[in-house]
Amino acid sequence: MLAVQVLVNALVLGCLYACIAIGFSLVWGVLNVINLIHGSFIVLGAYLAWGAYQWLGISPWYALVIAAPLFFAFGYLLQRLLLNRVISAPVLVTLTLTFGLDLILNNAMIYYFKADYRKLTLSPPTGSISLFDVVVPVDRLIATASALALTGLLYLLLRRSKVGRAIVAVRLDRDAAVLMGVDVKSIYAIAFGLGAALAGCAGVLMALIFPISTLTSSAYLGKAFVVCVLGGLGSVSGALAGGLLLALVEGIGSTLIGPAHATTLSFVLLIIFLVVRPQGLLGRKGFE
């Protein structure tokens, strides 16, 4: 029965991991920028959910609807005004720039929210359901369902809408997309905005489950790295596969050799994947 419980836990957590990583993967795949501010966006989203619930009494489900446009606008402007100036510079420059932005955002959050851990506690609590011997908390289940819904929404957007097709085109071949009349600058900004919006929504969902602190931003970022590399860049299904694989490895690893080693295990897996299969589980070669 323990095996089934571990499996179910991994499934639940895996969808959330995918939701964390999907925006990061989009930005990396389309803009070719490693967005180090992603972790702080997630924490900011969590604070938004917490603040909305604590001060305004808005339930986290509605906070999701508020967070998405706010973060999209924030990301869009950030890309348009700052990142766009160095977008064609080498890896080092864009990476360091997002690191600088991350320092500022993180510091601002510590300044306003202080460094205390906070927890969003729903009242009344949602409880948990148990089927046979497998127990799953309801709030976690709802968060997972929302994460899946967000993932599906992005998939539909990329598949069906005109903007989505343009984003995919830019990712596949930037120069050809320009020749076809795609406005690459605005696509870059939209992709970055979408990445930020997904990070903010992921943060709202995380607030339901995990304690909120600025210190967790680097842990979220680390998860995003690992999921992206495991699953392969730029594709929605890749992020989902990577998230599930990571959660599974962490779950099995912490059951077998202890939870202290789960992080080490995931990063060792990351390095092995980078060396052996850099295109990820579902990625295609030459796609990076």
Binding site: L92, V93, F99, N107, F267, I271, V275, P278
Partner: protein
Amino acid sequence: MTRVNLALLILIACVASLPLFGGAYALRVGTIACMYAVFALSWNIVGGFAGYPSFATAAFFGFGAYATGILLNKGVPLSVAVIGSLVMCFLLAAALGTVLLRLRGHYFAIASLSLVEVFREMVNNATDLTGGGMGLNIPLASGSGILADATFFFYAMWALLLIAAVVVMIVSASKLGFGLNCIRQNETASNMVGLNSTLYKSVAFGLSACFVGAAGGIYAAWVHYIDPSDVFDILHSVKPIVMALMGGLGSPLGVVCGAFVYLGLEEVVWRNYIQIHSGVLGLLIIMLLLFLPHGLISLRSGMFWRKAKHV
């Protein structure tokens, strides 16, 4: 010896006279200045010469600090412990380099970043050897008074800086430096003409790790207490990059100047804006990247009486 190298040596010699001018504070800042300069010079070997965006500085700094700390606790003399961690760091980094340096661009950056995480978690979990999250206490090296100790560690770090600078000069003038330059410009082409790029990159990665490891060792003996979140701080990886960008990528004189200027700014920011110091640092990074992308060294070429040329 070129004029730039001579200028670098003179600059380092000037730093050595620092104890004549100030008390314990000057010595502390001087020690950190030498440490930062070692970071920047070391990073420059792999990041500036070979063009690989490495974030592994913190990993080897922490590794060196813990290796020295554990050796000192076992009763090994300081000099042997530091040299031991230098050699260990070189071998470890060269071995890891053969695997990690197959990756390019973003992938290498992420792999080197995760190296820091792996090392930190390993040290965190090896409680009986490293003390885990409780940190590691390191016995006092000598009981000869605070100022004498501070002077000793300042000169130890300074000597390390001198050695690192000389090695970097030798490397940049040698076949190795030429090969790394080729790898930065076009790795596939340099492979084609028969350059053993794996070997070159591994040696470069080892060289860039060993002085950082030794600096970690001296740091550990100097502060007497280390813990994983302190020595494996990701900022130790990012600071050398900022210094190198500030001073000018690839130029040893530039990165050392960058390190000193960076430390000066850091001290001013720490002193005046303690609550928002990391935010100010971030702002500084962004300004630097947007307005001075080629570093301070790009300011030199007579731009005051001639129109500056783009590099």
